[in-house]
C-alpha cells in the first residue's frame, strides 16, 4: 500500500528495515566483525560498540505463524511472539551474542525462548536493569550492572575496553541521537520536507544499523532536507504514543487516508523513546555516565513510577511533545495483551481531555486490519475536522 518516496537515502533506510536480518548478516559476513542482537532498548549499546561489536535490534517479521504458541503462552503480545519466532526460525543464527536488559516480562520471555530453544544458551547475556527508573539507588546499581556486562564482553572478545573506547562509542551514539532529533524537529514545521512515516522508518533503521554508516547517511539526508522545499500543505496532525511498533504500515496508513492527515510524532520504544536522550560526555566515570544517560530516558511504561508520588515521568515528556509538535489528535497504539501501555492510557486520557485533544486506540497484532484501522483513523480525522452532513 506504500508508494516509495523519491529520496534514495530514505529508500536505503527503508530497505534495511524491510530486510533487517539480511542487513545484519551482511555486517557479520566475511569480515571479522562481531554482531550482537539486543531485545530491549535499555541495553547499553555503547559498551558493545566500544568493544567493536555491532548491536542490531531484534524486531518482528509480521509473518503470521502459530509455531511460537507451543513455546510461549497465548497471552504474550504478538511482538514478543514474533521476536521469539526469529530465533526459532534460526533467522539470526549468525549472531555472536543475544543480549537483553531486564525488560517487560513479555519481551523477557522472547529472550528466554532464544536461550532455551533456539540454541543461544552459550551466547546470551541478561543485564539486570531497574524496573523502576527513578529510585536513588538505581544509578549505582546500573553502573555496577553495566560494569559486569563490560567484563563479560571483555572476556568474550578477550581484549579490554578502555575509557577511550567507551568515550568514542558514546560520541558516535550521541551523534546518532542528535541527528535523529534534528530529523524529527522537521515535523514541527507546517510543511516539512520529509514525512512522519519516513522519519519513523529512518529511526527504525537506525536501531538495526552500524551507527557509523547510519550517521553518515543521516548527515547526507539532513543536508539534502535543509535545502529541499517543504512538501504540500499539511493536513490534520496526528501524534502516536504507545508501545513497540515496527509495522511501518500503520504510519503509512495515517498518511494514505481519504483525508489529508500527517504523522507528526511517535512516542514509542521503536521511535522517539529509543533516542530521545544523551549520555553525558563530560563525566570522568564512563560507566556511570552511560548509566545516567539510560536512566534519564523517556521511561518505558513498564518502568515508570516516581518513588513517593507514583507519578509517571513519561507523561511530562508527552505533554512537552504536544506543546512542541502541536498535534490535533492522538493515536494510542499498544500490543494486544500488553498491560503497562493500556494502564497508562487510562491516566493519559484525562490529560488529553483537558487539552481538548481527541484520540483513538489501535490494538496491535502480528498483522494489521487495514480497513478497520483506516476507519478508526478517518473517523478521528472527521471528528477533528468536524465533518457533518
Amino acid at each position: 500500500m506504500m508508494e516509495k518516496g523519491s529520496d534514495t537515502i530514505i529508500e536505503r533506510f527503508r530497505h534495511i528495515t524491510e530486510k533487517a536480518h539480511e542487513y545484519a548478516k551482511s555486517l557479520s559476513q566475511g569480515k571479522e566483525q562481531l554482531v550482537a542482537g539486543y531485545m530491549c532498548t535499555h541495553v547499553p549499546e555503547e559498551i558493545l560498540y566500544a568493544a567493536g561489536i555491532i548491536p542490531v535490534r531484534i524486531l518482528s517479521s509480521h509473518v503470521s505463524q502459530a509455531m511460537t504458541r507451543s513455546y510461549m503462552h497465548e497471552t504474550y503480545c504478538s511482538f514478543s511472539h514474533d521476536c521469539a519466532y526469529q530465533g526459532l526460525q534460526h533467522n539470526y543464527d549468525f549472531l555472536d551474542l543475544i543480549v537483553t536488559s531486564s525488560s517487560c516480562i513479555h519481551m523477557g520471555e522472547a529472550f528466554n525462548i532464544w536461550v532455551r530453544f533456539a540454541g543461544f544458551q552459550q551466547k546470551s547475556y541478561l543485564i539486570p536493569f531497574p524496573h523502576i527508573m527513578q529510585t536513588k539507588p538505581a544509578g549505582g546499581f546500573v553502573a555496577e550492572s553495566f560494569g559486569e556486562f563490560k567484563q563479560f564482553i571483555e572476556k568474550l572478545t578477550n581484549k579490554s575496553i578502555t575509557d577511550n573506547d567507551l568515550e568514542r562509542a558514546i560520541k558516535v551514539y550521541n551523534q546518532t541521537r542528535r541527528l535523529l532529533k534534528r530529523l524529527w524537529e522537521f515535523l514541527r514545521l507546517d510543511n516539512p520536507p520529509i514525512t512522519g512515516p519516513e522519519v519513523a522508518t529512518v529511526t527504525l533503521a537506525s536501531q538495526l544499523m552500524d551507527k557509523q554508516e547510519c550517521n553518515q547517511m543521516l548527515e547526507q539526508l539532513l543536508q539534502r532536507l535543509e535545502t529541499k522545499p517543504g512538501k504540500a500543505a499539511s493536513g490534520v496532525r496526528l501524534m502516536v504514543t504507545g508501545g513497540a511498533c515496527d509495522d511501518m504500515g500503520i504510519f503509512d496508513l495515517i498518511e494514505h487516508l481519504n483525508y489529508s492527515a500527517n504523522l507528526i510524532f511517535v512516542d514509542s520504544c521503536t521511535a522517539a523513546r529509543y533516542f530521545w536522550f544523551e549520555v553525558p560526555e563530560d563525566r570522568p566515570d564512563k560507566l556511570k555516565a552511560i548509566a545516567e544517560g539510560y536512566l534519564g530516558r523517556i521511561p518505558c511504561p513498564a518502568k515508570d513510577n516516581v518513588p513517593g508520588t507514583g507519578e509517571r515521568k513519561r507523561f511530562r515528556f508527552i505533554q512537552q511533545f504536544i506543546e512542541d509538535f502541536k498535534p490535533d489528535g492522538v493515536v494510542f497504539i499498544y500490543q494486544r495483551f500488553c498491560s503497562p501501555q493500556p494502564n497508562d492510557v487510562v491516566a493519559l486520557k484525562p490529560i488529553l481531555h483537558k487539552l481538548g485533544i481527541p484520540s483513538t486506540e489501535l490494538e496491535l497484532d502480528t498483522t494489521i486490519p487495514i480497513t478497520q484501522f483506516g476507519t478508526q483513523l478517518e473517523a478521528l480525522v472527521e471528528i477533528i475536522t468536524r465533518v457533518a452532513p
Binding site: 481519504n258 494486544r336 480497513t371 478497520q372 473517523a379 472527521e382 471528528i383 452532513p389
Partner: protein, 280 residues
C-alpha cells in the same frame, strides 16, 4: 435531486436512496465480496424505483468495504454516518449511538446536529459478536432471527464467560453436559454477549438520548439485556427505519449535502481512490 448511500458491512451490505433528502428506496443484502455486494445492494434499491445507477446524482460509501465501491464519489466512515443517520431518524436529542454490527461494535458520541465527537471501537477480543450469533444459531439449529426472542423466555439461566464469544460458545456447548434446557443456554449466551457490549458502551459513556443501530439492534435477546445491564433505555426503533440501514442513510445524507456543496472545493472529505478510475 437523487443521492444515495451504500454501507458495505462485514455481514450485510445496505443501500439507501434519497430524493430531495426524502427516503426513496433502500435495500439490505448479504455481503460476499465488497464490490459485488455494492452492486447487488445498489441494484436491489434501484429496482424498487426503476432507476439506473447513472440516474443518481451523488453516491457516498461507508462501512468496512467502502473503499471497494467503484461508483461512490466519496467515502465517509461509519462513525460519522452512524451519528448522522441516527440523528436524522431519532432527532436532535440523540447523544450516544451504539452501532452493534456483524463484525464490530462501536459506541459513538454525537451532537444534536449528528456530528460525531468521540467513539470507541471494540477491542479485538470483543470482535465478531454479530456473526457469532449466526454460528450459534446454527449450533442450536434455530433461525438467527428467532434466537433473540427465545433468549428472553427464561430469566433464570447460568452465567457464562462474557469475555470472548469463542469461549462463550464452548461454555454454552458444555452446558448441555449439565443438562441445562436449550432456552436457558440461548439466554445465557445472549446475556454474555450483551454484557460484553454493555461494558464497551459504559466504558465510552452513555449520554441520553441513547439509540442502538446496526444488525444486532434487531435482536431483542441482546438489546433488552444491554438496556437492563446499563440501566438505560434506548429510544424505540422507528417503524419506518430498519436500524441496520442507519449508516447507509447517514452516507446518503452526506451524499446529498456534498452534492449541494459540490461547487465549494474546500470540502474536507476526500474522494475515494476507486472512483477516479470509474467515471460515472
Amino acid at each position: 435531486m437523487i443521492a444515495a448511500g451504500v454501507d458495505i458491512g462485514a455481514v450485510s451490505s445496505k443501500a439507501v436512496i434519497l430524493q430531495d433528502g426524502q427516503p426513496y428506496a433502500f435495500s439490505l443484502v448479504a455481503t460476499r465480496t465488497p464490490e459485488e455486494s455494492a452492486f447487488r445492494a445498489m441494484n436491489a434499491a434501484l429496482g424498487q424505483i426503476d432507476l439506473k445507477l447513472e440516474n443518481i446524482d451523488y453516491i457516498a460509501a461507508t462501512g468496512r468495504g467502502r473503499t471497494q465501491v467503484p461508483f461512490a464519489r466519496i467515502t465517509v466512515s461509519e462513525i460519522a454516518c452512524g451519528a448522522a443517520g441516527a440523528v436524522h431518524i431519532w432527532g436532535p436529542s440523540v447523544r450516544t449511538v451504539l452501532d452493534a454490527g456483524g463484525e464490530g461494535c462501536k459506541v459513538i458520541q454525537c451532537t444534536e446536529k449528528g456530528r460525531a465527537t468521540a467513539f470507541l471501537w471494540n477491542d479485538k477480543c470483543a470482535a465478531g459478536i454479530g456473526r457469532s450469533m449466526e454460528a450459534f444459531a446454527d449450533l442450536v439449529k434455530k433461525e438467527v432471527t428467532e434466537i433473540g426472542k427465545i433468549a428472553l423466555q427464561s430469566d433464570k439461566f447460568p452465567k457464562i464467560g462474557d469475555f470472548c464469544s469463542v469461549y462463550a460458545q464452548s461454555e454454552a456447548l458444555d452446558l448441555i453436559r449439565s443438562k441445562v434446557p436449550v432456552e436457558q443456554i440461548i439466554a445465557a449466551y445472549h446475556y454474555a454477549m450483551a454484557k460484553r457490549i454493555a461494558t464497551l458502551v459504559a466504558r465510552s459513556g452513555v449520554n441520553k438520548d441513547f439509540v442502538i443501530i446496526g444488525g444486532l439492534a434487531k435482536n431483542p435477546g441482546i438489546i433488552d439485556r444491554v438496556e437492563s445491564i446499563l440501566k438505560v433505555s434506548r429510544l424505540a426503533p422507528k417503524p419506518e427505519w430498519d436500524p441496520a440501514l442507519t449508516a447507509a442513510l447517514g452516507a446518503a445524507l452526506f451524499a446529498d449535502s456534498f452534492y449541494r456543496r459540490q461547487s465549494d472545493t474546500s470540502t474536507t472529505a476526500g474522494v475515494s481512490q476507486a472512483c477516479l478510475t470509474y467515471p460515472i
